[in-house]
């Protein structure tokens, strides 16, 4: 075995980049779904909605308290024993569901903290002019909470993006999967994984840069 082979390294880069859209696809749909679920969870927890509050606490506790890969396997392999739908589910759908189910728990905490940061007086003022509670949340509280929520949510999105790499363990063909396949053929693990890490690092750096820009923009508005 010789040391680092540049040709293998450069050979890997386009192969990995070619699957970039697959990784983005998972990250994008998981982000949308987890944001939506996170918002629902946050509103339930913040306003202690009867009947759902207790369930939401258990939900968040479970997903924060167990490893993601375990959740993914429990869902895709474990629950497959019980459900025809899961047995026939594509790895893509399964990864999106597992990622969303996991990250919405974390995101709900960021959203809740942001809802908390909006003074109670804003909510009361909304009610006092005759708005209904949900309208106050939607028109007054959420727009103000966004500014506080963005840093935490962006960090979670960055983590989510990295977590998509676990998808290859249930057979989803993304950037990580191609490295795994190629390196087990060529045995050039060092070059393959080095190339993959650099690409992930580059993507995350771009995302971090955009996060900073967005935060500055949000702080300028009012």
């Amino acid at each position: 075995m010789d040391a680092f082979r540049l040709d293998y390294f450069f050979d890997m880069i386009p192969k990995i980049v070619k699957l970039f859209p697959e990784t983005v696809k998972v990250a994008f749909f998981s982000l949308l779904l987890s944001l939506f679920l996170g918002l629902v969870l946050a509103v339930i927890r913040q306003y202690r909605i009867k009947g759902l509050y207790f369930l939401s606490c258990i939900y968040v506790s479970f997903f924060r308290g167990t490893p993601f890969i375990g959740q993914l396997f429990l869902f895709y392999y474990g629950f497959a024993q019980l459900s025809e739908t899961i047995r026939e589910m594509s790895p893509f759908t399964a990864v999106v569901i597992a990622l969303s189910a996991n990250y919405c728990a974390f995101m709900s905490e960021d959203i809740r903290a942001a809802l908390n940061s909006v003074e109670k007086g804003q909510y009361e003022a909304g009610l006092s002019i005759g708005l209904k509670p949900l309208a106050v949340i939607y028109k007054i509280v959420l727009p103000q909470a966004v500014r506080t929520a963005v840093p935490g949510l962006s960090n979670n999105f960055i983590n989510l993006f990295k977590s998509t790499a676990i998808g290859f363990m249930i057979g989803y063909k993304d950037m990580m999967a191609i490295v795994s396949m190629e390196t087990s053929r060529t045995y050039r693990f060092l070059e393959g994984y080095a190339a993959a890490m650099l690409i992930y690092w580059g993507i995350i750096s771009v995302l971090s840069f955009m996060q900073g820009k967005m935060e500055r923009k949000l702080n300028r508005i009012y």
Partner: protein, 248 residues
């Protein structure tokens, strides 16, 4: 006619409102005075159900809401006929002065945007802040924020304005502009219930005074009589303290 009957509210053991009743004719100004923490704010907050009373009845514009049986729809109706001016202004921070005033019209009364904007500009003019229409609350002084707060309350087009210590958070030099605006409203026969610690203002603006302590009305009457010859010992003591403070 606004009617309040036997309003009661407790926070734990503490009885904050202990059977408050009064009537207020349309176009009149009722001023609520009394020591701090004796339920003035709670009374106003119960009147639009920001705080839910334990007992009692509130009637505004023929909407009767009985505490024990109050339904959501009744509460929304009550709120659409009352408006509140807060001690801390509570302007919507994510909206400009103009948008703050438009909000009740566009979102609650469903007035088309153009029409609402026209009306909001009239209100801005009335509160003397037309040139600040594009400013966000954080760009306004306390006095200006409170005037926008009053403007927003006007936009609700309420049967009664609930005004909770409108100048308590203000620097002394900003008090005057807010009081002047409230005098304007009174001259235009806006029905108001005002909680305040400004005795001079109370005396001049009130058609009727109620003095509350420990959640009960201790004394009530017209302002001249109340301030010149208070009947109860507690009102006398309370007013004496204010006179001393004025001199000091």
């Amino acid at each position: 006619m606004i009617k309040v009957r036997n309003l009661k509210k407790s926070f734990g053991e503490l009885k904050v409102l202990d059977g408050i009743s009064f009537d207020l004719e349309e176009g009149k100004v009722l001023v609520v005075i009394g020591p701090s923490g004796t339920g003035k704010s709670t009374l106003l907050r119960c009147m639009n159900y920001l705080e839910r009373p334990a007992e009692g009845e509130i009637e505004v514009d023929h909407i009767k809401v009985e505490a024990k049986t109050a339904k959501k729809e009744e509460i929304y109706k009550l709120r659409s006929r009352t408006a509140m001016v807060f001690q801390n202004y509570n302007l919507f921070k994510n909206k400009t002065a103009l948008e703050n005033i438009m909000e009740p019209m566009t979102s609650v009364q469903r007035i088309p945007k153009q029409q609402a904007e026209k009306k909001a500009l009239e209100i801005l003019d009335a509160v003397g802040l037309i040139e600040k229409r594009e400013h966000y609350p954080s760009q306004l002084s306390g006095g200006q924020q409170q005037r926008i707060g009053i403007g927003r309350a006007m936009a609700v087009n309420p049967r009664v304005m609930l005004i909770d210590e409108p100048t308590s958070s203000l620097d002394p030099e900003l008090v005057g502009e807010v009081l002047a605006l409230l005098y304007d409203l009174a001259r235009n026969h806006t029905t108001m219930i005002i909680a305040t610690h400004e005795m001079e203002f109370a005396r001049n603006i009130a058609d009727y005074i109620i003095f509350i302590e420990d959640g009960k009305i201790i004394e009530e009457g017209d302002p001249e009589q109340f301030f010149n010859e208070p009947k109860t010992y507690r009102a006398q003591q309370f007013l004496k303290k204010f006179k001393k403070n004025d001199i000091g």
